[in-house]
């Protein structure tokens, strides 16, 4: 009797171990590949590093994964374009954890700590004064907290939003465009309001739903599906929770309009155009200031004009030439200040 119970217990532990090991062994192969790839990148980055901002050590703290094809990836990609391989703590959606990470990077003597999340501002306000020798870069925000070792950055997302909206509205030809928003905050609101204005400018209507979460992919996907059930003729959305929504567009053969990062890898030929954040344009200026001994005190804006916002068209989508030239005109108009996008 007793022995059989012991056997059962051992059996269970064995099963647990097998489970872990089985999952683990498949994991190992894939991880090796990934590690190889990362190693390769590192070598490259090191070389580039020497060419540019070689002396600065950079760390990024971000709320979503570095490869989210959205907000966080746009920052990592931008640093890559500057030849910088940062230390990264990603996925810190708990603000207090992010604060701890920001603080420990600063303690480690990192030269530049990028706090890539509006919600980190309250914590940065407390941390930055403790580390006057560290430069903090914070966004998206139009306010540097009045601290001289904090740079702030924000995208004029309404500009590309307007252009996206104009193109979407033109394609829609009287139909409605479904918009999936995350929390009604930050660059998401700017993008969506710009998008609605752009669509309106060509007489199209938009149906806007905010899911209330930056990260809830399931709800964002569900919302996109509900838009499709209601007969929209195009979809757009913003934040890292959009991957499923893009897929809904693909599945239903509807055009998708991207923002933050280029969403092409998600949607093959149905991404018409993406407004891509090129943080490197403003980061380069910030790094130059830091090397000159100015650690903050300025706010930088990404615009179509300074090249921080880039409209990346998908060659695979057959966009009507007339619409494309209207979009180019809109870009020119926005840069010239003739078109209001807010």
């Amino acid at each position: 009797m007793k022995a059989s119970k012991l056997l059962k217990l051992l059996g269970a532990l064995f099963a647990f171990t097998l489970l872990a090991a089985a999952c683990g062994s498949t994991a190992t192969d894939a991880v090796d590949e990934v590690t190889d790839a990362v190693d390769g990148d590192e070598d490259e980055a090191m070389e580039d590093d020497e060419a540019s901002h070689s002396d600065l050590s950079v760390a990024v703290v971000a709320p979503s994964a570095s490869d989210d094809v959205a907000f966080t990836q746009s920052m990592i990609d931008s640093l890559g374009r500057l030849g910088i391989e940062p230390q990264v703590t990603d996925g810190t959606f708990v603000v207090e954890e992010a604060a701890a990470a920001i603080r420990s990077f600063a303690e480690d003597g990192t030269d530049v700590v990028i706090a890539h999340g509006t919600q980190y501002g309250g914590s940065l306000e407390e941390i930055a004064p403790d580390f006057p020798e560290t430069s903090f870069i914070w966004g998206t925000s139009a306010d540097n907290l009045g601290l001289d070792n904090v740079f702030a950055y924000f995208p004029a997302a309404d500009q590309g939003g307007y252009v996206n909206g104009l193109i979407a509205g033109s394609i829609a030809d009287g139909g409605e465009i479904g918009v999936v928003g995350p929390v009604e905050a930050g660059d998401a609101v700017a993008y969506i309001e710009g998008f609605a204005l752009g669509a309106e400018s060509v007489g199209a209507s938009t149906s806007i739903v905010y899911t209330g979460s930056f990260s809830d992919v399931a709800l964002a996907t569900t919302t996109a599906q509900a838009h499709v059930d209601n007969g929209v003729v195009g979809l757009t959305g913003t934040s890292q929770s959009m991957v499923g929504a893009v897929n809904i567009a693909t599945a239903n053969d509807l055009p998708w309009f991207g923002t933050q990062s280029n969403t092409e890898p998600w949607s093959s030929d149905l991404t018409v155009v993406s407004q891509v954040y090129h943080w490197d344009v403003v980061l380069a200026d910030m790094f130059a200031s830091i090397e000159d001994g100015t650690f903050g005190g300025e706010v930088f804006e990404l615009t179509l004009e300074n090249g921080g916002l880039v409209m990346e068209y998908n060659d695979g989508f057959d966009l009507d030439a007339g619409i494309r030239s209207a979009a180019d005109d809109a870009v020119a108009g926005i840069i010239a200040g003739d078109i209001a996008t807010q």
Partner: protein, 317 residues
């Protein structure tokens, strides 16, 4: 408000509701079987997450939805073995060991996702009935039937399976010897034992059925959404457990509960997109199903009695 009360909008919303209800339905039906045998499994959400990831990953690698579903089933079954062993043989307290399964599923699915996938790549969405290979053409006329067509037929196969499972589980519980044993060990294990029914074996199998369906529920969720992410379920598994109480351990009422959740979610999105309710009110509206569930539990608790031996481990001595 008047924009909402048009036939086409209401039917479109209902069609969406039906699809949303499916993961709840699979998970809750499975949990019904387990609870009827006297075992509460609070780990449904964790099993759904593991099954959901497994199915997603299989489709990502092989592009086969059938294989994805099978992986979901296999993971559900495996977790069922773990949970059954822990509760039936080691007599672990059910509410808490379920939380252990939940936390393990939550963490481990996230770990695997980050290590094996990383970038959330979409997979090929589930085909609707009329998009199926070979037989799809047969269903096209049905889907095209005005109003009713999209409501009833513009769905994927898993949706039909979920709703067909409702009478199937009823039949299993009420008309088969196994179902009789399940109900007996859930009501009075001592009596069942004295009649020669193996309480351990019956509960073990019931847990396996429940857990497998939780795996299917997770697979359905990730296949329908064609994506996976950390904590994809966002508590669906916990709601599914509540739906079993809500449905008074009867499959058809459980189904009604699942549909209620689907309808509330779909309506909330629809009302927001029509501008009927602002964002703030939408947060308040999101509380509604939880509050309704609590009220239903209050009303039902005094009228409907659950399996008498629910959460009580059985030992002969």
């Amino acid at each position: 408000m008047s924009e909402f009360f048009t036939v086409s909008v209401i039917f479109a919303t209902l069609s969406t509701s039906i699809r949303f209800a499916v993961p709840y339905l699979f998970a809750a039906l499975g949990e019904t079987v387990g609870q009827r045998s006297g075992v509460l499994n609070l780990g449904v959400d964790g099993i759904m997450l593991l099954g959901g990831f497994g199915a997603y990953y299989a489709v990502l690698q092989t592009d086969s939805h059938i294989l994805g579903l099978l992986v979901g089933i296999a993971i559900g079954l495996l977790m069922g073995f773990v949970y059954a062993f822990v509760t039936v043989f080691l007599h672990a307290k059910q509410g808490i060991s379920g939380i252990g399964i939940f936390l393990f599923g939550l963490g481990f699915s996230d770990l695997l996702f980050q290590e094996l996938v990383g970038t959330p790549l979409p997979i090929r969405p589930l085909p609707r009935l009329d998009q199926l290979p070979v037989v799809g053409g047969l269903f096209e006329p049905l889907v095209d039937v005005a109003v009713i067509g999209p409501l009833l037929f513009d769905h994927d196969l898993l949706t039909f399976m979920a709703f067909l499972l409702v009478p199937a589980i009823s039949w299993l519980l009420l008309k088969t010897t196994f179902g009789m044993n399940v109900r007996a060990v859930g009501e009075n294990p001592q009596a069942a034992d004295s009649l020669g029914v193996s309480v351990e074996r019956t509960r073990f199998i019931s847990i396996l059925i429940g857990s497998t369906l939780a795996g299917v529920a997770g697979a359905t969720l990730s296949l329908q959404l064609a994506i996976f992410q950390q904590n994809l379920t966002n508590g669906i598994g916990f709601i599914a457990v509540a739906l079993v109480y809500f449905g008074a351990w009867r499959p058809r009422y459980v189904m009604a509960g699942a549909l209620l959740y689907g309808i509330v979610t779909a309506t909330r999105i629809r009302w927001q997109s029509l501008g009927i309710i602002p964002q703030g009110a939408s947060d308040v509206a999101a509380m509604a199903p939880a509050i309704v569930t609590i009220l239903a539990l209050v009303l039902l608790a005094s009228r409907v009695r659950g399996p008498a031996a629910l959460t009580k481990p059985f030992s002969r001595h």
